[in-house]
């Protein structure tokens, strides 16, 4: 079974027991806290915190390995490119220049640049685990229920939940179709030229789209037949009532958000933390 990506697996622990609404609010609070600030100290705290939560949630490494690889590649690329394109941006921001060593005339490594880039790296690195955490620990139906309770139309919420739910199915379909097409002579291996391979992948996507459309038709008929869309509102079987832990979590995340804002406004007097003056 290699369809673990986005596959929701129920577990019983603190994170899973939280309501989807709590998780979405906490996710936004922490994300904005990290995104608005360029002070590495609170960002590092959130970074550590997100990994602690990832650990508590008991999510298996195998579930997120692929996403982690992509994230790391992206971050590394981002790090290198930032330096290549604007090696002196840090100096510009912080207004001082502490040279560490020189590569060429243009590429001088400074403490300021290093601080800026590392801050940016940690920012991304702390948000992405939170996103994965949210996706993997929220039951899609319960997520839909939460979305609709904060005012999103229930039809849109349900559509999103169905998409999440059918994603693993589509991957399974894709594998089946790929096999059948390979037996007709479609070569997807590295032996074939890239252009041909892309064309061949297209030949798999067409039946995938058609069989998915079939599925959509069946499911939407079944939903109609059972009264979906009859009223302006609907109730949710999977909705979790908010408990004490939910309020406390939301309060905590809101506090983190408020704190980072306060640090920026009252202590740093800017989005950046400047240790150089």
């Amino acid at each position: 079974m290699k369809n673990k990506l986005f596959d929701y697996v129920e577990r019983d622990n603190f994170i899973f027991r939280l309501s989807g609404l709590t998780k979405i609010i906490c996710f936004f609070c922490l994300t904005f806290a990290v995104m608005l600030s360029y002070d590495i100290r609170p960002i590092l705290c959130v970074f550590v915190f997100s990994f602690v939560v990832l650990h508590i949630s008991e999510i298996k490494l195998s579930q997120i390995r692929l996403m982690l690889y992509y994230t790391m590649v992206f971050l590394l690329l981002n790090f290198i490119l930032t330096f290549l394109f604007s090696p002196q941006y840090g100096v510009q921001i912080y207004g001082t220049k502490h040279v560490l060593f020189q590569i060429t005339e243009r590429y001088v490594v400074t403490q300021e640049q290093l601080l800026y880039q590392i801050t940016k790296l940690v920012k991304y690195a702390s948000v992405i685990p939170l996103g994965m955490l949210f996706l993997l620990t929220t039951n899609p139906s319960e997520f839909a229920a939460s979305l609709s309770s904060i005012g999103v139309s229930y039809k849109a919420s349900y559509a999103l939940a169905l998409t999440l739910r059918y994603f693993p199915d589509m991957i399974r379909d894709y594998n089946d179709i790929a096999l059948a097409q390979q037996s007709r002579g479609l070569d997807l291996s590295k032996k074939e030229k890239l252009g041909v391979r892309l064309k061949n992948i297209m030949n798999i996507c067409v039946p995938l789209i058609f069989s998915t459309m079939d599925r959509i038709e069946v499911i939407s008929n079944a939903m109609d037949l059972r009264g979906f869309g009859k009223h302006k509102k609907r109730t949710w079987y999977a909705k979790k009532p908010l408990r004490k832990a939910d309020y406390l979590s939301m309060l905590f995340c809101a506090a983190v958000f408020a704190l980072t804002i306060c640090i920026s406004v009252f202590i740093n007097h800017s989005r950046f933390w400047n240790p150089f003056i």
Binding site: R215, K230, W236
Partner: protein, 498 residues
Amino acid sequence: MRGRRRRTANIFELSKKVGTVLQDSDGQFIGLTVGEDIAFTLENDCEEQGRMKEVVQNVADIVDMGTLLNSSPFELSGGQKQRVAFAGVMVNDVEILLFDEPLANLDPATGKTAIDLIDRIQKQYQKTVVIIEHRLEDVLYRDVDRIIVVSDGRIAADMTPDELISSDILINLGIREPLYATALKYAGVRVTPDMHPGHLATLDMERVREPLQKWFQSRKPRGTAPEQEDILSAEHLSFQYTKKRKILQDINFHIKAGEMVSIVGTNGAGKSTLAKVICGFVHEDEGALYFEGESMADWTIKERSQKIGYVMQNPNQMICKPMIYDEVALGLRLRGTPEEEIGPKVEKALKICGLAPFRKWPVSALSFGQKKRVTIASILVLDPKVLILDEPTAGQDYRHYTEIMEFLKGLNAQGVTILMITHDMHLMLEYTPHAIVISDGKKIGDSTAVDILTDEEIAGRANLKITSLYELAKMAGIDDARGFVQYFIDYEREVHRG
């Protein structure tokens, strides 16, 4: 309906009175868990959560799914999914329950329990039950008050089972009678309603025993067909995805050239995996496969596909070109066959599949059965000697079922060896003389379809059902009941040929 003209009631109001359980309970599973799916209608009615949970628990208990409320659809069998769909319409306290081909996707033993459940609920809760089905014999396993036969949009008959079985209506419309009833007619018995032929159990045996025995004794010994060479064989084949569980275990079989074979077994028994191993999609861990005596161990997927074609269950999963001609030609083009050779080959494949008049049509204009034939044509064009079909008739109505099976029979007569993965007993008995039964990754039966369907032990383990012919023969005091079934099949082939 209840004094209201159907036209004036909208679909929502209607669903309060009539609960419909659709054929494909897999595709229409909406919720993420059993409980959620059952609750779907209640959610849409804005039922309050506490009450909703209560109702869901109640109806789930009625269909024996009460302990599985948190299971996801992947963990359920076909029969269980159907029960969930059933419970999903019961929450409305409907007056009429409508089942659309409830047996189409179930193996025979599960189908039997499904009919049992429907019967129990009808009696216990006094519901009106309407079952749309072409597998008459399986439905008649429990009490049915009336049968309405529909043909070309008209009602052809509306009578009790006893009356219907006694008449010629079914035969004239090409619908399969219960096999025991056909046997009675072959034996020259004049079936009348007062013999109660609606059920095998109520049939008046006194009046049919003698003719049946006479008919059986009149049989002639049949000639044996000339022995063919093995085209595909397996020796000690084993396969596992993970170390924990073996999917296939020490499988041996021999398939002769020109045979039509069914591979049967319960869901998850390993049938599909066997097909995947044969096609080379996954590689065997132990043992070997031989094609015409030659080991296939080093053959790639592409090489195997020259000899063995694989047709998936859903044609929409295979078709990737908008035009029929291009779709059929795809395999050849991918192999770099020159265009002038492709033309005649595609032409031939289209002709065999009865699609020649449609060669310039878009695929989207075809019916499901025709699409299935396009996929078969697109495999046939590669000229395989063996064709493997995964559930060729699953989810098909009777007309498409017959259309596809008769077509495959014709193909087989032209020399293509055909392997079918199926759980359809009628298909086995009527079309495939040779059946291989797989259960829990092991081969538990490999014989004629007649032998398999008269062997209680094998049938039980593979979720099959003993054929009613066998029971009829036993009831008529015929010792060689298996011989009786075999004679019936042979006799029927004669009749159809003649």
